[in-house]
């Protein structure tokens, strides 16, 4: 019995080493920099999937080569410590994947599998953490998180920066995911992209979907961003469940893909109280370090007057409303992002919704310099009924088309209703 036990652990340990020896020749460091020798670079990992020189990595590993305008950034795959220039041949900005091709024949490639491990199974993530050395990190598979089209495998694994783009394998040395991110201020919570999306990307590549990618890459990215925002709107409209409620106010139920939380508070001197519900989509499409798209969040607050006069209560509404300001109105953040994002255009309007509730609404929008037809918008509004109950809402949307912005606002506004005494 003891002997069996020893052999099991021994063979286990041996298999990890064997796994490493088997897969490491197919995993490489990927460097994005202005030239081969430059130390000003960003590092990630990637792995070979076809001997003809095809590698998979994350989009965000090579994003600088696409988004940086001032200097030309190149992608290099380090094979035996020698930098070989790489070309992007396919890209999926929604799932943060990129397919690269180098002029090199791989001796070994990795096998992919669509089979999903069971929760609790051991998985192995490989890559070069912090520009050190190709490492093997053992972790646990903890399921899949899905928010509309955004999908991530949840792992319990201490991976680090630099390992992005590297593979995560099951015990059979098959790739189940591509390392993508870690959760900040957490203990070993990390994520990888399910391999299903790599399959989709390779398929699209083989079908010549990405023809002439080099010249038109931003058009492809734009098309993908348009796709995701369409999915988000459809997902929002899908939810036909019961209306959400805050005191006597009802409003559109948030999509089940969103994460929501509530807060109830009374003002210090108990002259008014408020109940708040905030929802956000815990995923987005990374465009660059300073820019992301394809996401939105919602904020609803119902405010009740307890002891104030009408004018004093209105003062509360005014201060809460005016206190909600947004980052991209800030001139400073605009200056640092002048080449990627436009200036904002703001306006306001008073409207009465279909449930006869008047609102004062302010909005500010801007757009991307490189992509057309997609806008970022912040909307805030407050009810103008004269009673002791008021309703405040604010939402921000990143990367939506004009039609969908209108659909979104209509959907939210038309659902807001007041069941109290008017």
């Amino acid at each position: 019995m003891l002997l069996v036990f020893l052999i099991s652990t021994g063979s286990w340990a041996k298999s990890e080493q064997a796994l490493f020896n088997q897969v490491s020749p197919a995993i490489f460091q990927i460097k994005t920099s202005t030239d081969e020798a430059s130390s000003k670079a960003s590092y990630g990992s990637g792995f070979a999937i076809e001997k003809t020189g095809l590698l998979i990595t994350n989009y965000h590993v090579i994003a600088t080569s696409l988004q940086e305008e001032e200097q030309k950034y190149n992608i290099y795959v380090l094979v035996d410590e020698k930098p070989i220039p790489a070309q992007i041949v396919a890209v999926d900005i929604i799932h943060d994947l990129a397919l690269l091709k180098i002029d090199y024949t791989f001796k070994r490639t990795l096998k992919l599998t669509k089979k999903i491990p069971l929760t609790g199974e051991t998985i192995f993530s490989l890559g070069l953490p912090k520009d050190l050395k190709l490492s093997l990190i053992k972790g646990t598979f903890n399921g899949i998180l899905k928010h509309t089209r955004y999908e991530r495998i949840l792992m319990s694994s201490p991976i680090n920066a630099g390992m992005s783009g590297g593979p995560t394998l099951n015990t059979k040395s098959e790739v189940i995911g591509v390392n993508v991110s870690v959760l900040r201020q957490s203990q070993n919570i990390s994520f990888c992209v399910p391999i299903k999306h790599v399959y989709d990307l390779i398929d699209a590549y083989k079908k010549n979907t990405f023809n002439n990618l080099k010249d038109k890459i931003h058009l492809f990215l734009q098309a993908q961003l348009i796709e995701i925002q369409q999915t988000l709107i459809e997902d929002m409209q899908k939810n036909k469940g019961e209306n959400s409620k805050l005191d006597n106010w009802t409003f559109a139920p948030p999509s089940t893909s969103l994460k929501c939380w509530s807060k109830n508070e009374k003002e210090k001197n108990k002259t008014y109280e408020y109940k708040q519900q905030t929802c956000h989509l815990p995923a987005d499409a990374y465009i660059s370090d300073t820019l992301s798209s394809g996401s939105y969040n919602l904020n609803f607050i119902s405010i009740n007057n307890l002891k104030r006069t009408k004018i004093q209560f209105y003062n509360v509404l005014e201060s809460s409303y005016n206190a909600t300001t947004y980052d991209f109105r800030d001139e400073f953040s605009f200056i640092t992002n002048k080449e990627v994002i436009s200036r904002y255009s703001c306006d306001n309007q008073i409207i009465v919704n279909q449930n006869n509730i008047p609102f004062k609404i302010n909005f500010c929008m801007n757009t991307y310099i490189r992509y057309t037809g997609l806008y970022n918008i912040i909307v805030k509004g407050v009810s103008l009924l004269k009673g002791n109950e008021a309703f405040f809402f604010a939402f921000s949307m990143q990367g939506f088309s004009q039609t969908n912005i209108e659909k979104f606002i209509r959907h939210q506004l038309d659902h807001i209703n007041f069941e109290g005494k008017r």
Partner: protein
């Protein structure tokens, strides 16, 4: 011989003083021919002398001056029988007495010391009005922001009490430093300071509410290519204006102060008080009008919002074009 009948404002009995020698100096200092021991009289107040036109009294740059029958300040008044004039709080009537009574060269006139029992500014109407105004303004500003509880009310009273105390101390300090140690001077200085500072504090307190005014609106001045923090300059100019006016005419100064304060209101900017004000400040306004306005779906259809969205998008395309040009130029 000229006799002066001197009567103080609050006494019933006049004093008769004959003038024998010319020139005859009048004032508070004992070096004068006629010593007038009253605090409203300067040390060297006036001189009675004569020229080829006749006998006259001349002001020696006194603090309170000489005022004629019509209450107009005069440098020089020719004296004849029954001429009346006023110096400080004392009223003079001239009697041309052909009598030949000779008296001593100098006479020390002691006038009844009414000033000790004279009530001070506590009962002055203007002071009271300002105190109430200032309090009301502070109270209104505080009231619109939060319910008034005992603590807030107490703090408000303390604030005003301290304010008055500081002003009084300031006025006292100034009168101490100045040459005229007159209680009335102190009172005048105090009133003047109070006038100035109460309006100044009123502006500060209500500035958030008044900040829409056309005069203190920076955008208005930008139109004339003047980028200035007009609010601050306005306050400074205002203070000099008041200073200037009080020197000339104290009553009018009060009136002009009120007018200047009201200048903060501007009919053009009253708009801001309505919720609809079209501004890109991204804020909610309309504190005053809120209880009065009602909104109906006919006047405010939802489509108007979507039209504005549309317009913003068109503007964005323009902005984007401009930016792309800028980027191309800088490269």
């Amino acid at each position: 011989m000229i006799t002066l009948k001197i009567k103080s404002e609050h006494s019933l009995v006049p004093t008769i003083v004959p003038i024998h020698s010319f020139p005859c100096r009048l004032g508070r200092s004992i070096k004068n021919n006629i010593v007038l021991d009253d605090h409203s009289i300067s040390k060297e107040h006036a001189i009675i002398t004569f020229d080829h036109h006749g006998t006259y009294i001349m002001d020696l740059s006194s603090t309170n001056g000489i005022f004629d029958l019509n209450n107009k300040k005069q440098e020089r008044i020719y004296l004849s029988h029954a001429t009346t004039f006023k110096m400080g709080d004392l009223r003079f009537e001239v009697l041309l007495d052909p009598g030949e009574e000779f008296l001593d060269k100098t006479r020390l006139i002691h006038l009844p010391s009414y000033h000790l029992s004279k009530p001070h500014f506590i009962f002055n109407k203007a002071f009271f009005i300002f105190l109430v105004l200032f309090f009301l303004l502070s109270f209104t500003a505080k009231y619109t922001t939060a319910p008034i509880d005992k603590k807030t009310f107490g703090l408000l009273l303390l604030e005003i009490g301290l304010g008055i105390g500081v002003l009084y101390a300031l006025a006292g300090l100034i009168s101490l430093v100045s040459k005229v140690h007159s209680k009335k001077y102190r009172y005048n200085t105090f009133l003047f300071f109070f006038l100035k500072w109460s309006v100044y504090f009123s502006i500060l307190k209500l500035y958030p509410l008044f900040s829409f005014s056309l005069i203190s609106n920076e955008s208005f001045w930008k139109y004339f290519n003047l980028t200035i923090n007009f609010g601050f300059i306005y306050l400074i100019l205002y203070q000099f204006f008041i200073l200037f006016l009080t020197r000339i005419n104290k009553q009018k100064a009060l009136f002009y102060a009120c007018l200047f304060t009201l200048g903060l209101f501007s009919p053009f900017a009253i708009r801001k008080y309505f919720i609809q004000s079209d501004n890109d400040l991204f804020d909610l306004d309309g504190l005053l009008a809120y209880p009065l306005q009602t909104f109906t779906a006919d006047n405010f259809p939802p489509q108007s919002l979507y039209d504005r969205l549309n317009q913003s998008i068109k503007d964005l395309e323009k902005l984007k074009q401009e930016q792309v040009e800028e980027i191309k130029k800088s490269q």
